[in-house]
Assembly symmetry: C2
Homo-oligomer: 756 residues x 2
């Protein structure tokens, strides 16, 4: 580790090129910090001496808000001097409540620089009739903290409590990530309200030209903000084979960060995309004259209804901004950097939190064969004005006693822990995107759903029901009913809830990824924890590792899930990208397991899933989650019961995980050891080009034999015209044996290795 | 009653001058309705054949919002034809839970016109790649309902449930009130967030010129929207002696209405006042070419954070828009029109609701002698990070055990029911206008306030504590804690809460008088009712008679209260205006009773109350409220114990009320009979000019004698230089006797008449 003692900044003028640097424990990553000639905080990052982040500025632009600390007319961007510099080392191993591995090592070297800024500004000193002007000097102190791991860095801003900076409002955060070249990126259009677009693969220089077609304008909540705005986690690959990923960690009471690419056209262009409300705002410190170099990403926070980005009270910090890097793509997947940058578990008792396999009354509504709502009788409904016993049923309501019992029976028979039931509660008649505040009460069941009987029935068979709370993004309404809704769950024995945030946020003007919404999502998780309830939030902000601190947050959607296979489909490489991007921050409730991929076989839906049946089994391993759904219909699983055996067998909590092969958007192969057992499972998933895997079983216990079952694509399998062609092969293997497996286009494989 | 049968509008073209009219039960008021040549709903109103409202248009402008019913590209302004017209009579007498009279007669004639509009608009008919255009016709039906009373009218829009109008968003309501001349008006600047300005008295034509000075720009929440915007209730007087008042009734889940005056300059001017976000938007139906005549008021609703005015779901209605009129100013004060236009009581059990006299730990903080907060140790605080037992007290915290016991003793000794204690709960260190969401928890007491001991102590003396919940306008935070806060109140025996909404609304961008905030205030009242808690909401929307439906809403501030006597003072005529304006919608917690008006006598505050001591007694009668505070310090009342006898004696619930004299901003004299007793109380209050009252006691019981105590201004009393000069005279009186009373400048009198 290289260290350099700081010169205490006693002078009022900024010191030029004051610098500290720190390297990762293994020495591969080096992080340099300096103040430039304007006193701007600047950092750069290398990996094995190759540039990862070129010199990039750090800082925040403050809003001139009437309710901020006195006279906040200066930004936190420049004019800083170095006051203190601390370098330290941390090395600790912790045990997650659930996860890919039994233990996680949190090992980093840290550089914390304390910076001070003196701002002088005019202040009215008079009172009433006699105003007077004076120049008042304020000192403001911030800390920028860098943690350097072997697989990347985290940096964040810290704002100590101080008289001159008690409250402030953020106009924009200007954290730069200057890339060293025109990398290949896997990106989603930056958006304040949806993450459910298909990932684009392009050069950075191609983002602007690709933006218009990258946006699915049909999504009800599209709020694109810039022609070069992209979301995180952003996975990139350099021409010389470095993998770089930018994301954030521990985003709690702060707005979600997007990235805006400063490209050659940024300065000239003021064109806005349709529906956009914002465009690139240059850093107010001289950026009009000196734009960052091309391929620089600048942070862009999600605004509130008035366009501002965050209300802060010191002491506080921003989330961590993370840059992961490696020359081996597998390191992107095995990294625990995001989790490590989150706070330790905040819950005293976690005994009630458990990984869960479930099925549910869900896919047939998504496909359009049945409905969430109970009646079609009214143009709209008001919850307090309907006698549900008297309304005319539409005959398509799926969450009925008979069907739910069928699912409970199926779950009990096949070792699934829970049964999700969507559409059980009144309000689905006119629930989405109507600016309807009082949309659900989360407590009243439709007349054909007997909540007590069904829970009793499930419990008698060793199964639980999984609660569903679609909020329709009417968050105030949800918060008003939440306590009673959780009490209802406790009463009937639910211990997990799937929440949903479909549609535009109510109150109007707010966004899914704003500070207030991020606060809301975490508020729900905390309140749920008081009731020993696990949360799986759909359409909420993309995760940033908060599940370490609140492990009852067992899942999120926050990306394009399996449901899109019924809305036109997703590309075959989609699930070979998500682990590099969406899954960096936490598990996804992707709801895999579609065996009958051509939906028209059993419905009027002409959409189809771009995956083979064997490939769908692989997802239970390649898409890590402690919550795994068997999403297809029970009758479809019964039709392919031999293949369904893998879903019955597969674990969803692990002592060890080894990424064997990985390349973004191409293939992922992983071996995992089931928690508390000697058994291993291996999954491989590939894109539309197919893949050959050669797996050496050198991770098995020495001297032990394993019953090996291989679920593989048949030779002629293909995601489009032959998805259900699979083979099941059984043999006995031992450590050091080699498996040669062929994945079909859009296919994959799954292997179970049960210790004899 | 004159009626005219409507011609059913079977033709598609609007019928010109289709008209119905209806008169008040006594025939004095006539209301005419018609459709003009553009099919615009139009009404006019006369009183004893004198014009009150000249022909004025009615209608709503809809927002082109993506989440509205199909193709809402037409407004609800014109193109209407008359479908049905119903005239009916209603006469019922009801008993308020509390009030100025034991019974209230609700007697009106009603005209309900059903109007239909056919809009044709282009619609994309294709799907995906093949868009096609077609003209689609939609029928939309609304009802406009008029109720004509002897003392005024109410009108509202009703939107039946219908496929073509299920959901809509209001851009603006365009209800016109065309005044017949340049009346004198008592007005407040139209504002989305404050009603605490001093009332202006001017001609309508002078409003624009007076606006800038009318605004107290120092108020933290000023949100003025137009140079001719004013608030309701707006009291006017015509040059020929008609009193006209415009307000609204039953404003629940709808935005609060302001009035914007269309004057000669309206069309030309686009200048905005500083801080304003809006200016006059002409009715989109041809108004650019034909502005309403001068002296026309047009409704202006309070917007949400995005500038829109309301999200509606049919079936629904707007609030009632009211126009009261009389040639006797006393009728303005005795009118029950606003209450009558509200729905009957919605609570099954009202036994726990009771009028209340109270004192409180309050005035000394308002004056600045002590503090709400407990410590000055920190620049800011976070509730979950402070160990209150360890912080350093500032020594100025008023809500301490010793002081509260002193107030309890005082209340018990003097027959006051409750003791308000502000500043009892943690969070006051940095509570207001900081965009701080998590500002209070409403449950944790400061270490020097023993909530159990003090409630026990109070109860042992027959007194209750009155809870205080300052929300700091962080409404989400309040709603998150409200249920537990109410449970805490139930636990310790509180049955009333004073809530507060100081500062800008959180979430940012919302306003005090928006639809969402109006929903919030009523939500609090309804939730409180479940806990048998009465609510007295400060800084909330001006009331519109909702206390009829929810009588646990026992008070509101919603105007410039006594606290302003410590912030520079209010004019002496202020309390002679409020009963004509602010009190129309419901009682005000004005907190009268300041005996020591020169605050510098006991503090460093140089402000002073513009009222005599006798005048302050009068307010307990002239400012009707079921909740009456004795706002001054106990030691001040002890100093003037003979005068305080009146406050001990005076009732705050009434069987009968007779307004004996009234003139806006000049004087008000009222006699009231205490509920369930033969005792009467009379109060007279005047402006800075003094007043002579001659009161004939012809309302007393025949043959009964009364001990009469007269608290009057002494001959040399004056609100400015001799406010504490009063006389107390006792005599025995009987029906028919005459009292001659002289009110000093800024003075008044109070009389108790206790049946022998």
């Amino acid at each position: 580790m290289t260290t350099k003692r700081a010169i205490l900044g006693l002078l009022m003028l900024p010191l030029i090129a004051v610098a500290g640097n720190v390297t990762s424990p293994n020495g591969n990553i080096e992080l340099k910090f300096s103040l430039d000639e304007k006193g701007r905080p600047t950092y750069e990052m290398t990996y094995k001496d190759r540039a990862v982040v070129l010199p990039s500025h750090l800082g925040l632009e403050l809003a001139r808000d009437k309710h901020a600390s006195p006279d906040l007319n200066g930004h936190l961007l420049d004019g800083f001097r170095l006051i203190d510099e601390k370098i330290s080392t941390f090395d600790e191993t912790w045990r997650p409540v659930w996860g890919e591995t039994a233990t996680i090592r949190n090992h980093y070297n840290e550089l914390a620089v304390t910076l001070r800024q003196t701002i002088e500004e005019p202040k009215y000193m008079g009172n009433g009739n006699e105003p007077g002007l004076a120049l008042i000097a304020h000192d403001r102190t911030i800390i920028i903290r860098f943690r350097v791991y072997d697989d990347g860095i985290g940096l964040r801003y810290e704002f100590p409590q101080q008289q001159e900076l008690s409250y402030f409002v953020i106009q924009e955060e200007h954290t730069e990530f200057a890339m060293a070249g025109d990398h290949t990126a896997w990106w989603l259009p930056g958006d304040y309200d949806t993450q459910e677009q298909e990932t684009q693969e392009s050069k950075l220089s191609e983002i602007r030209g690709r933006m218009q077609e990258a946006v699915n304008w049909g999504n009800s909540s599209v709020a694109v903000f810039s022609p070069t705005g992209v979301q995180t986690s952003l996975q990139m690959k350099t021409d010389d084979g470095l993998y770089i990923n930018i994301h954030e960690a521990a985003c709690a009471d702060y707005s979600t960060m997007h990235l805006e690419l400063v490209d050659a056209q940024t300065k000239a262009l003021t064109t806005k995309l349709g529906g956009s409300s914002n465009a690139y705002t240059p850093n107010p410190v001289g950026c009009a004259a000196e734009l960052p170099q091309p391929f620089t990403f600048v942070s862009h926070l999600t605004p509130d209804a008035t366009g501002l980005k965050g209300c802060m009270q010191t002491p506080c910090t921003t989330p961590w901004r993370t840059v992961m890097v490696s020359d081996d793509a597998r390191d992107m997947l095995s990294s625990n950097l995001i989790l490590n940058l989150n706070e330790p578990c905040a819950l005293d008792d976690v005994s009630w939190i458990h990984p869960t396999k479930y099925c549910g009354v869900w896919w047939e509504m998504i496909v359009g064969k049945s409905s969430w709502n109970y009646t079609d009788e009214f143009p709209s409904i008001k919850l307090d004005q309907i006698d549900w016993k008297k309304v005319k049923p539409n005959g398509r309501h799926a969450a009925n006693n008979e069907k739910v019992k069928r699912y409970i029976d199926f779950a009990a028979k096949n070792g699934l822990d829970q049964v999700l039931v969507e559409g059980w509660n009144v309000g689905w008649e006119d629930w989405a995107n109507l600016w309807k505040r009082d949309v659900f009460d989360f407590q009243t069941a439709y007349p054909d759903f007997d909540i007590k009987m069904l829970n009793d029935y499930a419990h008698s068979k060793g199964v639980k029901l999984l609660m569903h709370h679609e909020t329709s993004s009417s968050t105030q309404n949800y918060e008003r009913h939440m306590e009673k809704a959780f009490q209802l769950m406790n009463k009937y024995g639910y211990d997990a809830v799937k929440t949903g945030y479909v549609g535009d946020i109510i109150p109007r003007g707010d966004h899914h990824y704003s500070q207030s919404m991020n606060n809301h999502y975490l508020y729900v998780v905390k309140e749920a924890a008081k009731h020993h309830i696990m949360v799986n939030a759909h359409e909420a902000t993309r995760p940033t590792g908060l599940c370490r601190t609140y492990p009852n947050l067992v899942g999120n959607e926050s990306a394009r899930g399996t449901e899109y296979e019924a809305f036109g489909g997703s590309r075959p490489d989609h699930t070979c990208i998500l682990p590099f991007t969406r899954l960096q921050g936490g598990p996804m409730d992707y709801t895999p397991g579609i065996f009958v991929t051509k939906l028209k076989e059993w419905s009027n839906n002409t959409s189809w899933a771009r995956i083979t049946l064997a490939g769908s089994l692989a997802l239970y391993l390649t898409m890590y989650s402690p919550l795994q759904m068997a999403a297809d219909l029970p009758e479809h699983y019964e039709r392919f019961d031999d293949a369904f055996q893998f879903i019955r067998d597969v674990a969803c909590d692990w002592d060890e995980s080894i990424y064997l092969e990985a390349e973004p958007a191409d293939y992922i192969t992983v071996a995992r050891k089931a928690k508390g057992t000697p058994n291993w499972f291996i999954g491989g998933k590939c894109d539309e080009n197919g893949h050959q895997s050669v797996i050496k079983l050198d991770f098995l216990d020495k001297g032990r034999k394993y019953d090996c079952t291989i679920y593989a694509d048949a030779r002629d399998a293909h995601y489009e015209n032959n998805p259900q062609a699979y083979t099941i092969t059984k043999k006995v293997v031992k450590k050091g044996d080699i498996l040669k497996l062929t994945e079909a286009p859009g296919g994959g494989f799954a292997v179970s290795l049960m210790a004899k």
